[in-house]
């Protein structure tokens, strides 16, 4: 990240000994972050080794690793972890593929008409998450939902399907809504990456009589690999944290069948007020995200080299 400006680099190296530890200009950001993020993280870690339930009216007591051992034997925690993985990687994977297909389809189409189509294809991304949730919830209704109505009238199904009320179908149904909202992000980024491929590369491949598929497979995909990887990682992280869509569609139900880690922590902390136990889940999760962040930084560094 330091390599963009070689002139400064040279000048700076000769001064390296006098380099200050910190720059005053980052102070406001650091102070704000320390208060609104740093302090809460420390507090969460401290809470995770205490038995602290707001409803108990007892002072918090130090319980050591008890919350963590309880966690290890908590089937809902493991279920939520599995749901989080399925929800995240499933939605991101399918959205990335859809976005890629669209970007390839729309490639080389110029002019006002195509700009309009492109913009229309992007609109789902501009729909607020909560609205996505309620819109799909309405379309998924067992009685009077448009999805069941269409499937019934075309004869694909005989009886209306209770999409969001079935413990097996609810998670995939929520994922479809998520994919609908997320695919435009990949479409936008991959379109930009496609147009950044140097023309000479495409031309020389054409001279070598590369077919459409050969062109995509051998020329375009290698160029798209890094943008695809980085945007996927970004979306994986944001999906790990997704609360609005799941909460507004199913509240984690039926049962705990669509409960992800966010929903589980939220239920523990703000429905059962078990702050200590909820914090333990939060800490585990923090560790997983630090690993992801580390991978992300590694990929970024690879990219900038």
């Amino acid at each position: 990240m330091a390599a963009e400006t070689t002139t400064t680099e040279v000048r700076v190296r000769s001064r390296a000994r006098h380099e200050p530890w910190l720059d005053r200009m980052v102070l406001p950001t650091l102070v704000v972050m320390a208060v609104v993020v740093g302090y809460p993280i420390v507090y969460t870690i401290a809470l995770s080794v205490q038995n602290y339930n707001l409803l108990d009216f007892r002072p918090a007591a130090y319980v050591g690793a008890a919350n963590y051992t309880k966690l290890a034997g908590d089937p809902i925690f493991w279920g939520s972890l599995t749901n989080t993985a399925v929800y995240t990687f499933g939605s991101v994977g399918v959205s990335a593929l859809l976005g890629l297909a669209l970007a390839l389809l729309m490639e080389n189409l110029g002019g006002a008409r195509f700009r309009a189509i492109r913009a229309l294809l992007l609109t789902p991304w501009a729909v607020p998450f909560v609205v996505v949730a309620f819109l799909f919830r309405y379309m998924y209704l067992q009685n009077g939902g448009v999805i069941n109505a269409v499937l019934l009238s075309t004869g694909i199904i005989d009886a209306p399907i209770p999409w969001l009320n079935s413990s097996t179908l609810a998670l995939p149904a929520v994922m479809v809504a998520n994919i609908w909202a997320m695919a435009p992000f990949f479409f936008l980024l991959l379109s930009a990456a496609l147009s950044a491929i140097p023309n000479e590369v495409i031309e020389s491949a054409r001279v070598d009589r590369a077919g459409t598929w050969g062109m995509i497979w051998h020329i375009k995909l290698p160029f798209l690999r890094n943008p695809l990887l980085i945007s996927s990682l970004l979306m994986v992280i944001s999906n790990f944290n997704d609360f609005a869509k799941i909460w507004a569609m199913t509240q984690g139900g039926p049962g705990y069948s669509t409960s992800t880690l966010v929903v589980y922590v939220y239920r523990l902390a703000f429905e059962r007020f078990e702050f200590g136990y909820a914090s333990a889940v939060g800490v585990i999760w923090l560790i997983m995200l630090m690993v992801l962040a580390w991978i992300y930084m590694r990929v970024l560094r690879m990219e900038s080299r």
Partner: protein, 288 residues
Amino acid sequence: MKPNVQSSRAGWLSPGNIARWVAIGFALLWSLAPIYWMLSTSFKTELEAARLDPTLWPEAPTIANYSGLMGTSLPFVSFFVNTVMSCLLTAIVCVVIATPAAYALSRARFRLAGTVGYAILSFRMLPMVVVLAPLYLLLLNAKLLDSGTGLVVGFTTFGLPFAVWMLKSFVDAVPIEVEEAARVDGYPRWQILLKVVVPLIMPGILTTGTFVFMEAWNNLIYPLTFITTIEKQTLPAALVLTFTGQFKTDWGGMMAAATITTLPLMIAFFAVQRSMVRGLTSGAVAGA
């Protein structure tokens, strides 16, 4: 879907081209049908919106759902104003605080630069729900719970780290030579930043601000936990909360409310859509 990219040379009616247009047609249908359904339902009567055989086009189009929102049962106008104000304020606060930090991270040399950059980025990846309980207690002690200011504080947790990284990529793109003249003249760094760099990265600042605005608009978990008075609620949280009462069966009213919630975001999105590509590619993909 079988994209046939080269077929544009082969004339309009080649099989590849037809397949391509069919695929694009499906993509348009997939993207727009739900939005059409939201709009169409928002103009239906309560009875028609609940029909077992849904109508594609409202049989008796009515704006009752929209005028109903202005009615007495829900402070819908306050929800709207609350959301706009808190999101706008968040965007401004984040951009103002983040700009000098982004400038320093891009240009200045200091020993902790790498560490600070990594810390800010990892804060960005932090699950909001983890900081939820401590933040709640923090706002409680600061007497900011149940207030718009408290919401802005909450939104800052994800808006600020994002703004720093996004703005850094825009500063990175400004050639250093532009600043040289001012530097030779002995201007202090603050002035160089304000008078030379900020005007140059203004599109980037606007894009970043819009992104922060959109993310705050999308946020549900903070208003849901930090705001207890219904009049002070934001639109997304209000939709969730009122669904248990007001909108339980009134899908027409719900879709009208949803449309109103979507419009500002869509306008913001299309206003910066072009620089968004640049921001995203330089900030997220090429960046760092």
